[in-house]
Symmetry: D2
Subunit: 151 residues, 4 copies
């Protein structure tokens, strides 16, 4: 499905908003790709973000997929709108071990107010390479004229 | 519903596993209550964990609820079992602003292999106080005899 | 939490819309309670609606909770709006056996456009009585001025 | 991903279990394809199964996707196991209108006890043809030695 951005300047806008997400800098996550309705974020493994067995915590995995999905949705929104996560569901398929991970977000359907998004989380250097560790489906909302919220 | 722990030493076991979650120390989260099937974790606001509008990132909110729910499930498991998150779903009700937050996890039903859990995330100092910011429903699994995994 | 209906005539409106849901008549489901933000629907067991082990099919359980949750949301909407389900998540706690069931829907938070809802499904005549068989959390949307859709 | 069935007789077994789902006969649904980890079910439109706007009820859409996903999971299970739905999440993308629908279920990952599944619901005769109306992600469990449950 081809997605047509309503804001020709969508890439700059997504990158500027990503740069304001303090948590992405804290995690040393990098925005590696911005297309219309598609965003990839890379995360290096960091021991400070692990759960009790030494794997990346499921909530950290979720943080990355949520940002990837949210920015995929924002890339298709009108200028002036801000993006908020309404809800998401995550299935954890395998423990998040590896040295480098890729979170991908993609818009499945962009409506007037809400967008349905789909996310994947993979280990870049894994055995087998790129196997799926977690998946997300969620709903993102476009908000306008709400005090102080712009992306 | 009264939940009967199968491990009389459940509180010590939950606390020891929590102390091994590096991400909880990184976030300065504290385990403030451990009951049979019920766990509360407190989190101070930290600007390093925010999204682009200055609220706590939805993934951080999820991280806290997932740990609270996972440890609520572990508190009812047999000695020797480890807990893994199978899946969770999060609804975000209001932006996570405040100076201190409480994530609560509770077992709704503990089966032989999987437990259904329910989580809530509230701002402790809020207007109105304690209003619900996010909720989770999820599935936790008890694993045994899997290489290296014990809680 | 007290929910204030924006339409004083909400009960009549919910009942009229329920009566237009052909599937509810097909299943012989009855709307037994309509309050502001709260709706109960009763369903008798019917062998024609079972899955392969003789329990009520999980999708039928979902149908009832979705209608209860949707009408709970509609009860708080402005006159002229229609309700649509955006998404829902269902956890199945126990096989749906029994002779009579109750699906309850409740609004957790009603926003301008979307409402977060929570549903429960119980066997009325069960052992133990009223034990929880399934639960739902979902998102309902208020739509206006969309061709032909009014509730 | 190639899925290897553990039961060479999986197709016969899935078809026999489907034939015991009374609700499928009630809805006149037909099992049109059974592959290893993949199942398609066809449903004709029926006015008795509609919600208040004349579309197929979201719960009916769910019923079909749940059966397709459950049988996709069963097709990869060992002889003697039965399949139960643990949980599922459904996103509704567009109203379910059309004269004939296809529900597809697919195993994303088959573990020892639980399988992660993915479902889609499309209108066969639609404009555009085959556009996605709803999607599911869920968890199916393999149960053994539980009183009376075999598939």
């Amino acid at each position: 499905m081809t997605q047509v951005p309503r804001d020709p300047d969508f890439e700059r806008r997504v990158r500027a908003s990503f740069d304001r997400q303090a948590v992405m800098a804290t995690f040393r996550a990098r925005l590696v790709r911005v297309g219309p309705g598609e965003v990839d974020i890379e995360l290096p493994f960091r021991a400070e973000l692990t759960q009790q067995h030494g794997f990346l915590h499921a909530g950290i995995v979720t943080t990355l997929m949520d940002s990837a999905c949210g920015y995929a949705a924002l890339s298709l929104m009108e200028p002036g709108a801000a993006v908020l996560s309404v809800e998401f569901k995550v299935n954890l398929l395998a423990p998040a071990r590896g040295s480098r991970f890729l979170a991908s977000g993609r818009v499945v359907r962009a409506g007037r107010t809400v967008a349905v998004v789909s996310g994947e989380f993979r280990a870049v250097e894994a055995e087998p390479p790129g196997s799926l560790l977690a998946m997300m489906t969620g709903t993102m909302m476009s908000v306008r004229d709400r005090a102080g919220l712009v992306d």
